[in-house]
């Protein structure tokens, strides 16, 4: 067992982990931050995306000990200080960008990383960026729409429904 220390959602966190413990497991099992989900075992689905030192990372591709000393942000830290949904979360609700909710934390974390680097992405850019996030419920239509809306673009004419 090795002790790891990191900052998670602005607070100091530590724990004793095995070398093989994944960051995703550490967050879920040791810290009880169960908003980070695990949907596959081949780093494909993206349900576990968190931010490590400001970068979107699949928490199942990183060992907990690799995050020693890092600044980690999970879905639990995304809402506004008063608990209301932030602009991306609100856009997902407004545009029905989620159904079962399981992929949603990863989608929101990926979307916020995208919009940080590319504040006004095109539809194609959004779709390309989400290649590492699988959703089985929505057919992506409303996720793409929500992310574009969150970027301040008018999505009313994107597709008839």
């Amino acid at each position: 067992m090795t002790q790891v220390k990191m900052t998670v959602n602005g607070k100091a966190a530590s724990g004793d982990v095995e070398g093989r413990t994944l960051l995703a497991s550490f967050l879920r099992e040791d810290l009880g931050l169960t908003g980070t989900h695990i949907g596959c075992d081949t780093s494909q689905c993206g349900a576990c995306v968190v931010h490590v030192n400001g970068e979107a990372v699949k928490a199942c591709t990183m060992l907990a000990i690799e995050a020693d000393g890092a600044d980690v942000k999970t879905i639990e830290s995304v809402a506004n200080a008063d608990g209301s949904l932030n602009v991306i979360q609100q856009a997902f609700q407004d545009h029905h960008g989620l159904q079962c909710g399981f992929c949603t934390p990863g989608m929101v974390m990926s979307a916020s990383a995208l919009l940080k680097d590319n504040p006004k992405p095109t539809e194609a850019e959004v779709r390309h960026y989400l290649d590492g996030n699988i959703c089985r419920c929505t057919g992506y239509h409303n996720i793409v729409k929500a992310i574009m809306a969150a970027s301040g673009q008018d999505v009313s004419a994107l597709a008839a429904e």
């Binding site: 596959c40 081949t42 029905h96 989620l98 909710g101 390309h128 239509h141």
Partner: protein, 787 residues
């Protein structure tokens, strides 16, 4: 103007708040004090004699609590099948025993052989590696037609063959159908494969068993679409636990798509092991395990034929299908290729004579059961591909041929034993032609051709049957369960109310849509209404959510219970208003006396029910809580017309979806936003089946597509924005809401449109191959283009 509440409003989903903030409560988020973890050692051999399982070395590994093998479950029941099909000779299907852990033989890759319970999942997995399993390989049967040949190796030695049943429907029509083919002016024949799929809800299955020694109470937390069904199947048939000592909880569930209907071994194991180990036992499926243990879907091999007269009227249809059951019968597996498939073969057409034959076959593969649509996509795909092929053979327009043969009058009794109550197939086709901008296709094709691409247009219609019922009929058809739904409406003293429903929401938005219905009925705000579901301890016996039944059946139960509430509340109001009960009207959350200005608010009536100081105690009981069970008199029949436009790169065979349009008739609609989202998701799964997804076995029974590295899940960049319209509405005539169900339509209605479009694109490039099987991958398209 859009409504801002009640039926017809696109109310935003209240459940989104917890999902968007990471505060959902999925089964894997549940951790019980003192819990141990189980890892299943699964067979890596498809078919073999299980000679021995030596756990001695593993038992002394660190952290091991207890190791179980098939021998520990000899006194335990078989995982039950919930539907018994009777074959064309009047014999019941062959039904093998399905053990919790393999015993005697292994029959598919992924079948659990041993289960290690340990202090941590890592320790359980480590110890499983030290278990020595001795298996003598047997030849595996994978191909269905090989499996039913004389002398084929048998999946189950105690059955007479690998044929589960040979079903004929309607058997009495067979002679007349064959005669119509002899007399036909034209016969179109099509052989096709409906590719095997894996449902892949993003949340893998999880089960947590708990046992309280002090009371003898069992609790199972599980990723289920129907916790009451699991309680009944597992309690009564597998473990012998009566319902009052067994609670099944299905909390937030991350998608189901059918594959979380079924009762699985892992649920029974965790419940059993929690008692045996006297501590909670948790299993969390990895995605790799999910691929080889979740029930798969589809997997039909079909030959279908249409007979037409000289005027291009359909005169008869016959179809022969081999349907893969896998190694064991999953909960509803036998019903899928029969009653959920044969009854839909009329489609939208007035074909007078139909005969359906289905041979269900055991193979050394994972069990196959219902996946989004379940039987109806298989029926729709073969029929709508066939109709397109008819049109091209006859040189007529595929839409015109469809229109010519549409059913025009309702109710309509099909030759495959169902009666469509309502529909308007001309209206949905008209709407489709408008939203798909067929008029603009020629110009778009030119644009594609200018880029060196081929462009194709494909269309199809669909009909589906939702809310399968009534219970007495399905009982005659072999269902071992009723198919009603239940709701208890509990009104609180201050006027808010809670609905405890047997329906289960795993993405469908019941927590938002169901309150819209009651808000409309009573005239109170939606936020005063809460939906409780997913726990057998607090909701009445219900059958759960699948087959697009929640609103049509569960919603109807809720309406019936609310009607009882309103009837009683009117009695109370008539007492408070000192008026005749017959004169009391409920509107906008207040009871009024007709023709007067006397009124009493909803909240005053509910308060009187619980603080009955001024109350007709001699006539009615205090309190305001009612339960209803609703058993529909018929299926509902959503229908529609879909169009797909593809671009095909002749150099690579790559197909891209450029446009997809869906015109659906779902009857009345409670929440248009949710309905549209359901169609989007169905379309993605149907397009996925058509272009990408394929569950593939090699001839030894090794699963080749066992991870997201090998099974092609549709990504955002594989799919377009969809054009979805549900303005054509012919309400269902036999449920109180007039609703039909929308959950499966997209998956049912889209694969034939995609394939028809691909074939159209190929024809425009001078290549008419007649048919191409799904998934229409670049390799297949390129090979067909260059054949």
């Amino acid at each position: 103007m859009p409504k801002d509440g009640g039926i017809g409003a696109s109310s935003k989903r209240r459940e989104d708040i917890r999902f968007l903030t990471g505060e959902g409560n999925y089964t894997d988020d549940i951790n019980l004090r003192g819990q141990a973890y189980v890892f299943f050692l699964r067979s890596d051999i498809a078919h073999g004699v299980l000679n021995s399982v030596d756990t001695s070395a593993a038992e002394s590994m660190p952290g091991v609590v207890k190791i179980f093998t098939g021998a520990d479950f000899e006194a335990v029941g078989s995982i039950p099948c919930g539907w018994q099909v009777t074959d064309k000779h009047g014999e019941v299907m062959q039904e093998p025993r399905h053990p919790v852990l393999a015993h005697g033989k292994v029959r598919h890759v992924g079948e659990p052989i041993a289960a290690v319970v340990a202090e941590s999942l890592a320790e359980a997995r480590d110890a499983a590696e030290a278990i020595v399993v001795d298996i003598t390989d047997l030849p595996a049967v994978i191909n269905m037609k090989d499996a039913v040949k004389e002398g084929a190796p048998k999946v189950h030695d105690d059955l007479t063959s690998n044929l589960c049943y040979d079903w004929g429907f309607v058997e009495e029509n067979k002679g007349a159908v064959d005669k119509a083919f002899e007399e036909a002016h034209h016969v179109t024949t099509l052989e096709l494969v409906n590719n095997r799929l894996v449902a892949n809800p993003m949340e893998p299955r999880v089960a947590v068993g708990d046992y309280a020694r002090g009371t003898g109470d069992h609790t199972l937390y599980t990723t289920s679409q129907n916790p009451h069904v699991i309680r009944l199947l597992m309690g009564a048939f597998v473990l012998g636990i009566p319902e009052h000592k067994l609670r099944v909880v299905a909390p937030d569930v991350g998608g189901g798509f059918g594959t979380k209907i079924f009762h699985y071994q892992e649920e029974a194991f965790c419940t059993f092991a929690a008692k045996a180990c006297n501590r909670p036992v948790k299993w969390t499926s990895s995605r790799s395990e999910a691929f080889m243990s979740d029930a798969h879907g589809r997997d039909h091999v079909t030959k279908i034929q249409m007979a037409l007269d000289k005027d291009n009227n359909f005169t008869a249809l016959r179809t022969d299908t081999y349907a893969n059951m896998g190694a064991y019968l999953s909960t509803f597996a036998p019903s899928v290729p029969t009653w959920l498939h044969g009854t839909l073969m009329a489609g939208n057409y007035k074909t007078p004579l139909i005969y359906v034959n289905v041979k269900a076959v055991f193979t050394n593969t994972v069990p196959v059961d219902a996946y989004r649509g379940a039987g109806r996509p298989e029926a729709t795909y073969q029929l709508e591909r066939l109709v397109d092929k008819c049109a091209h053979e006859l040189g007529v327009d595929p839409i015109a041929l469809r229109r010519q043969n549409f059913i025009m009058e309702f109710p309509y009794a099909t030759p495959v034993a169902v009666e469509y109550d309502t529909g308007d197939y001309v209206a949905t086709m008209d709407k489709l032609e408008e939203i798909a901008d067929i008029a603009g296709f020629a110009a778009r094709r030119k644009e594609s051709e200018a880029k060196g691409k081929l462009r194709g247009f494909g269309v199809n219609c669909y009909i589906e049957a939702c809310g399968i019922a009534p219970s007495n009929l399905v009982g005659q058809l072999g269902a071992r369960a009723g198919l009603y739904e239940s709701a208890t409406v509990r009104v609180n003293a201050t006027g808010g109310l809670v609905v405890m429903t047997g329906s289960h929401s795993h993405g469908q938005g019941h927590e938002t849509a169901f309150p819209q219905v009651i808000a409309e009925m009573i005239g109170i705000p939606e936020h005063m209404i809460e939906i409780v579901h997913g726990d057998t301890a607090n909701s009445p016996m219900g059958m759960g959510t699948y087959g697009s039944r929640s609103l049509a059946v569960g919603g109807s139960a809720m309406v019936r219970a609310t009607e009882k509430i309103i009837a009683k509340a009117k009695k109370i109001a008539s007492h408070l208003l000192e008026a005749s009960e017959g004169d009391i009207e409920l509107k906008d959350g207040a009871f009024t006396v007709a023709g007067t200005d006397k009124s009493v608010a909803w909240g005053d009536v509910t308060l009187a029910a619980y603080v009955p100081h001024n109350y007709p105690l001699e006539d009615i009981e205090p309190g305001l809580e009612e339960t209803a069970f609703y058993d529909p008199s018929n299926f509902t029949y959503p229908s529609g017309a879909y169009a797909c436009e593809v671009e095909l790169d002749p150099e690579t065979g790559q197909v891209t979806i450029e446009r997809f349009s869906a015109a659906d008739d779902f009857g009345n609609i409670v929440n248009p936003m949710i309905v549209t989202g359901q169609v989007h998701g169905g379309l993605a799964q149907g397009i996925g089946q058509a272009l990408m997804e394929n569950c593939s076995y090699d001839s030894d029974g090794q699963l080749l597509s066992a991870s997201y590295m090998d099974y092609a899940m549709p990504r955002a960049s594989d799919l377009p924005f969809y054009t979805v319209d549900h303005s054509c509405q012919t309400p269902c005539t036999h449920n109180p809401l007039g609703v039909k169900g929308c959950g499966e339509a997209g998956a049912i209605g889209s694969p034939p449109a995609v394939v028809n479009a691909v074939l159209d694109a190929m024809r425009s490039g001078g290549k008419d191959v007649g048919h191409i099987d799904m998934p229409v991958t670049p390799a297949r398209v390129w090979a067909a283009m260059n054949s």
